[in-house]
Amino acid sequence: MSDERIIFRGVSKFYGEVLGVNRVNLEFKPGLTGLVGPNGSGKSTLMHLMTGLLSPTKGEISVLGIPPNRPERLFRAVGYCTQYDSFPAGATGATFLRQTLLLHGMDRGQADARAWEVLEQVGLTDAARRKIAGYSKGMRQRIKLAQALCHRPSVMVLDEPLNGLDPMGRAEMIQLFREMADEGRYVIVSSHILHEVDLISDAVVMIHGGTVVAEGGIREVRAEIKSQPIQVLIRCDRPHAVAGRLFDFKHVVDVRILGDGEGLMVRTEDARSFFADLTGVIVESGVAVETVMPADETVHAVYDYLIGQPGGTT
């Protein structure tokens, strides 16, 4: 197995007779990967398997060459912010982090210094000496994140990390994840807020009924969905002129003028040919084009095509 990748090979997990995930073959790359799927689809199971909190019924997993059943090695490289909203009884923010860091082999001084550094990073210095049991939902989420990142892991596994955070907190955390991903670390985030996944992810893994239905860059995934013509939004000054010309092309299946009359939405079965032909149309018709952009190369749209309405996702 490779030392620099996170790999699932034929991984299945059954809880008795109940399916958790089925025959998952995945490879995560460095950067930010969004993990999306409806409730009970197997996202948390996948994260638990990756971090050794569950053992696969079948198959094998390697996280940077480390099998997840070796916690003494795995959790030097991995930080996991779980979905569980529970903490060791009596712990304060500072003692919770210090305990983690001491177990990583730091001495008291180093552990204290690093704990305060991370508490500052997640905006919890004022509450550091208070018991976590008295924290608000957002503060508990922040301390979980702090615990996951305090030892500077190269793989961050984050299960719904933005839950309970206010808009400012979400923005700060997203920026933090982005920075970590840009440093070349693996940041694997599950979120039910698809537009956030869309904003931050370099790649997505979509899971449904315990099966991975799509993985990769959102554009690649979208391109693979042949059954759904690609939608392209064109904002221009004379949409009717463009629409008339576009119907001449076989790959164009639908053209609709936008409600405000300042653009059109085109559905095409062949994006590459469409963009090539569109250039000619624009030049020949002499319209002033403001924007040409894919309208459904989003996590939301892809999710909708592959899984269904995203309303009930987690």
Partner: protein
Amino acid sequence: MRGLRRRQTVIIARTEVARSIFSRRVLPVLLLVGMPLSLALLRGLFMPEARRANIGHTTADFAQMFFFFYLRFIVFFSCAVLFVKLFRGEILERSLHYSLMAPVRRRVLVVGKYLGGLASTWILLLGATVVIFVLFYVAHGSLGLRYLISGAGIADLAGYLGVVALACAAYGALFLLAGLYFKNPMVPAVLFLGWEAATPFLPAALKALSIVHYLGSLLPVPPVMGPLAMLAQPVAPWVAILGVLASIGVSLALAVRKARRLEVTYSAD
């Protein structure tokens, strides 16, 4: 690496001591320990004047109380309360994942928790043993004090403390294991208490599977067993110590095996 493991063990053990002694977890143990303490206090207060001059009665009374009540009931259930919680408590609090997400071998986790539980029970139960023992004898005034300081008292007390220490180690390992295997470990604990009570009636081969059989052989003052004396079949002290150590070893080995396969499935637990 070995140094790191040792430090991790100490950190885990220290945390467990704090959780066991400075939390509500300790209350049932204090209640249990309060029973023989109250008994010793009341016995001293209401001891007839005529008996105050005879220390032999007290030595016999303490031996009876220690074997049939303190060891079999108070030490047994105190260990059950504290050791079962080491893993089961975290499962019920849904915080076990933090222990499993530490960069620590599962073996180190089990040993650290076990040592933490052991230190806690030793602090509480060895301390209580000393106080109860002293309360039994101070009722005799200066005679009792002389017995404690310069008589056989110290040697007897040391013997009882050794038995309590071994009992905590053996019952503790067993209850730590029970906490890993059973959703409600108090059921097997009560069944095991029944097994321990039935020990005198068991054939020799099955007696070997009882912890109290070995502990009973190590008592400094043998209790009066009555008709059961014929069935007790005590063993040599070195056999008893080896028997207790073997039971600790087996329990901990099984606990490590189970801990290696431990999964976080709170909804199923």
